[in-house]
């Protein structure tokens, strides 16, 4: 189980860490509306992939479930769950609800 504030905190914390690593201080100021990819986005494609990989492990540590953020359903949505920070937080809640703890 992951609440909305917890999910948002996971994303923002990870973005801040990534910002320090990549030398992009603006990532430490991210909020729900921060655009993650596309034109004028905070991350390039490599950064987005890194964020997803790191977040999957963060979710596992926080909730004890193994999740796959880029599943078929997520990739086929008209509005990508990776477009903005808030949408990504919603997506985390969704995948955690549908996941079962690792055997």
């Amino acid at each position: 189980m992951l609440t909305r504030p917890q999910a948002l905190a996971l994303v923002l914390r990870r973005l801040a860490l990534l910002g320090r690593e990549l030398g992009k201080p603006q990532l430490e100021q991210a909020n729900e509306e921060t655009r993650l990819f596309g034109e004028a986005a905070a991350l390039d494609s490599i950064g987005l992939v890194t964020l997803m990989a790191d977040l999957e492990e963060d979710v596992r540590a926080a909730c004890g479930v193994s999740v796959h953020l880029a599943d078929e359903k997520a990739m086929s949505r008209l509005t990508s769950p990776f477009r903005r920070v808030g949408l990504l937080a919603d997506h985390l809640i969704d995948v955690v609800e549908k996941s079962t703890p690792p055997a």
Binding site: I46, V49, T50, A53, D54, E56, E57, S66, H68, P102
Partner: protein, 226 residues
């Protein structure tokens, strides 16, 4: 201590490589459909069909150590003229040789990206650059793997993950058991290896490529004269 994941460790090159790394102090996780016969305190056998994405993910989830090396070795072969190759065989080869490696690279690639380091070795074949006749479906599946090697190298390099391909001619394994001896001898002579290539020589070639300085990411190197 370093940790490796090797696919196809129940026999052949995968098993020989696993035994060599264990002897050199590595911990090894073997992904195979059958359990094989490696018994070593630092060897963990995972019964997994690598063409099953969920099964690969579940197996990777069980590994808690950092993963330094992935060797996508598991492979299948079928020697048939193009016009006589059943579509089911072509699909099966693609599932094991390409899709299986894809699933392992994706799951373990994520682990390596989190670590910001790692090495992936995809085992390929001289049959691709030689466009060997009679192996169309096999060559196509390995060509797909070679393409994956190059794209993965470009995508993962910024996070410190190196991806290379290492290719061999005929090895004395189950994959070549059905090939007539004179055909193998002809190919070995063409590759500048008239004595053939032993499993020990192939393992040595892989070990030589573990240091980062040995080959740039995206490189595909062959133990043969092409």
């Amino acid at each position: 201590m370093s940790t490796a994941v090797i696919t196809g460790t129940s026999r052949g090159l995968g098993r020989a490589l696993a035994e060599r790394l264990l002897a050199e102090g590595w911990s090894v996780h073997g992904f195979s459909r059958s359990s094989g016969e490696i018994t070593h305190p630092r060897f963990t056998a995972h019964a997994v069909d690598i063409s099953d994405e969920g099964a690969v993910r579940a197996a990777v989830d069980q590994i808690s150590d950092p993963i330094d090396l992935l060797v996508n070795n598991a492979g299948a072969a079928s020697l048939n003229a193009l016009l006589l190759t059943p579509g089911s065989i072509a699909a099966s080869l693609m599932r094991v040789n390409y899709l299986g490696a894809f699933h392992c690279l994706q799951s373990i690639g994520k682990v390596m990206v989190r670590q910001r380091r790692g090495l992936v070795i995809n085992i390929t074949t001289v049959a691709v650059p030689l466009s060997l006749e009679g192996e169309a479906a096999y060559v196509a599946s390995k060509a797909a793997l070679d393409a994956l090697t190059k794209v993965a190298a470009a995508e993962l390099a910024p996070q410190g993950v190196r991806v290379i391909g290492l290719g061999f001619g005929p090895l004395s394994t189950d994959l070549t058991r059905a090939v007539p001896g004179f055909k193998l001898a002809e190919l070995d002579a063409r590759l500048g290896r008239p004595q053939g290539t032993s499993l020990a020589q192939a393992v040595d070639f892989i070990i030589q490529h573990l240091p980062a300085a040995s080959s740039a990411s995206g490189t595909i190197a062959y133990l043969a004269r092409l």
